[in-house]
């Protein structure tokens, strides 16, 4: 294997690990501003993670190996997903081995084990959270795959590197493609559901009855909780970079082009600053939905993704 792509891969993973809490801090900061509150520092998520790592793990008496392994599996699967998505460069060795369908599967593994761990302890809230999470997942995943297939139809490949390359090299005709516009709308809705943001789930809730993701990880503490929280931030970061790679890939460095990396980094910062603001606008503009309305929300996402696919055949 060549040295340069390997270096790129490692750089990207390090960037993911380092920048994910920063982005989470940025989203929180903008949210506080939009609500007229004083915001915590941008570095607060780092401090939270460091604090959790230094604390002891409290395990329930009846916790099995699933409960103890899950944080590492979730963290590992999320980190591996970061090796597939072209965040800075399309020149990734891992990208050749796994396409976007494998990416959806990686997220599914993480979710599956989180749901198992939620039920493992045997508390009522854990089981409830797992049940809700799987309900949402069973609706979000088909929609996600449909949106992904629409992207692959437009670029004739399921490899994310190839999709990013094709779209960034195309002209203005590509930008006006209705299929991609539909797929983008669907993707935004799915990303909100998958990363557990308002209106599907509220990441800041302290009310057990309204929790979805939080309910599953209520029993975690210490380094386990730190890993899960970190993985959650990375997931948000990854969904943003997946959207950037598939729909706004301008600026991502081409194959073998080491000199374009600093520019790619600047583009990335601009895109993520903007994405954070848009996410906050969505979150402050909408109220959390009733759980039974989520099926309609994700049904609409599925509809949009399917319409995108049909539009590709009908109009393009």
């Amino acid at each position: 294997m060549k040295f340069l792509p390997l270096l790129m891969e490692i750089m990207q993973l390090l960037l993911l690990l380092a920048a994910a809490p920063l982005f989470a801090g940025w989203v929180k900061m903008v949210k506080c501003w939009s609500q007229g509150r004083t915001s915590p520092s941008l570095l607060q998520p780092y401090r939270d993670i460091a604090k959790l790592f230094s604390k002891d793990v409290v395990l329930a008496e009846n916790a099995s190996w699933i409960f103890r392994f899950t944080p590492y599996i979730v963290f590992g699967a999320t980190l591996l997903a970061g090796g597939i998505i072209p965040i800075l460069s399309v020149d990734l060795p891992l990208s050749a081995t796994a396409d976007v369908i494998a990416l959806v599967a990686l997220f599914a593994i993480a979710r599956f084990f989180t749901a198992l761990a939620g039920m493992d302890i045997g508390t009522a809230f854990g089981g409830m959270g797992s049940s809700r999470e799987m309900t949402i997942a069973s609706l979000a995943e088909p929609a996600m795959l449909m949106a992904v297939f629409t992207m692959s139809l437009a670029s004739k490949s399921t490899s994310l590197s190839h999709i990013a390359q094709t779209i960034s090299q195309s002209d203005i005709h590509m930008a006006l493609r209705p299929s991609l516009a539909f797929a983008f709308l669907a993707f935004v809705m799915i990303a909100i559901a998958e990363t557990g943001r308002i209106p599907v789930d509220n990441p800041e809730t302290h009310l057990e009855l309204t929790m979805i993701h939080e309910a599953m990880i209520l029993e975690y503490s210490g380094r386990h909780l730190a890993l899960i929280e970190w993985a959650g931030m990375m997931k948000l970061f990854l969904f943003m970079s997946l959207g950037a790679a598939a729909f706004f890939p301008w600026g991502i460095a081409g194959a073998g082009n080491m000199a374009a990396i600093p520019l790619a980094l600047i583009y990335l910062i601009i895109k993520f600053t903007f994405a954070g603001v848009v996410l906050v606008l969505i979150e402050t503009g909408l109220a959390k939905m009733r759980l039974f309305r989520v099926t309609e929300f994700l049904g609409a996402a599925f509809l949009l993704a399917t319409l995108g696919m049909l539009a590709h055949f009908i109009l393009e």
Binding site: L176, P178, E296, L307, I314
Partner: protein, 221 residues
């Protein structure tokens, strides 16, 4: 503007017309429905103007302005005024199983696509591919009339169907002759007035615009 860009813009607007049609299919609030209807009219009007420009048929400009005046401004205004006058306070309507309705809508789009595929092969017009969208819009309007219970929403479904027909005429043959189009426009306008009068009568007779109530018209009760 070269022909490819124009075709792309027309296709994009067609996609937006289809999107608004689906939006109307699942929208619960009547005011939201009227807004969506106005947006659909706007997309229709702009796309008609662009088709007119691309094909050099200048009478399409008149159709476009007519659509703008009638379907974006006048009809939504009349509907809004009607709802205001009739004091429809309970503006949220139960829709029959939204996800199922959406799936039927998707099936209708696929059906329209396969139905118009031969026409698409034969045609040489710049608008040939949006015929399927136009037909799908007509069918979704029809589906909306079937699945809704409220008289006002049924009328909006009917008007959406008319939008689809107009779109089909533009895409298949670059629009109908101007006389026909003027006739249809006035027809729709008159229809809107008659509907308005009917609404008042239904409302005063049944105290509701729910068409289920009409079952009470049976004799011997």
């Amino acid at each position: 503007m070269d022909i490819q860009t124009t075709a792309q813009i027309i296709n994009f607007l067609a996609a937006m017309v289809l999107l608004t049609a689906f939006g109307m299919l699942v929208q619960r609030r009547i005011y939201g429905l009227i807004h969506l209807f106005a947006w659909q009219g706007l997309f229709l009007s702009v796309s008609t103007a662009i088709v007119g420009y691309a094909a050099g048929r200048h009478h399409l400009y008149i159709s476009s302005v007519l659509t703008l005046a009638l379907k974006v401004i006048l009809l939504p205004y009349i509907l809004n005024a009607l709802i205001h006058k009739l004091k429809i306070r309970k503006e949220i309507e139960t829709v029959v199983n939204v996800p199922l309705t959406m799936l039927i809508g998707i099936a209708l789009v696929i059906f329209s696509y396969s139905l118009t595929a031969p026409v698409r092969e034969m045609s040489t017009l710049v608008t040939r591919s949006i015929l399927a969208i136009a037909l799908a819009t007509v069918m979704i309007g029809l589906l909306m009339m079937i699945t809704r219970r409220h008289a006002v929403t049924q009328i909006i479904g009917f008007l959406a169907m008319e939008n689809g027909l107009f779109f089909a005429a533009t895409s298949a043959t670059y629009g109908m002759p101007l006389v026909v189009e003027l006739g249809v426009a006035i027809d729709v306008l008159i229809a809107a007035f008659i509907f308005g009068i009917f609404f008042f009568h239904i409302n005063t007779t049944f105290d509701s615009l729910d068409v289920e109530q009409m079952a009470r018209l049976k004799e011997g009760e």
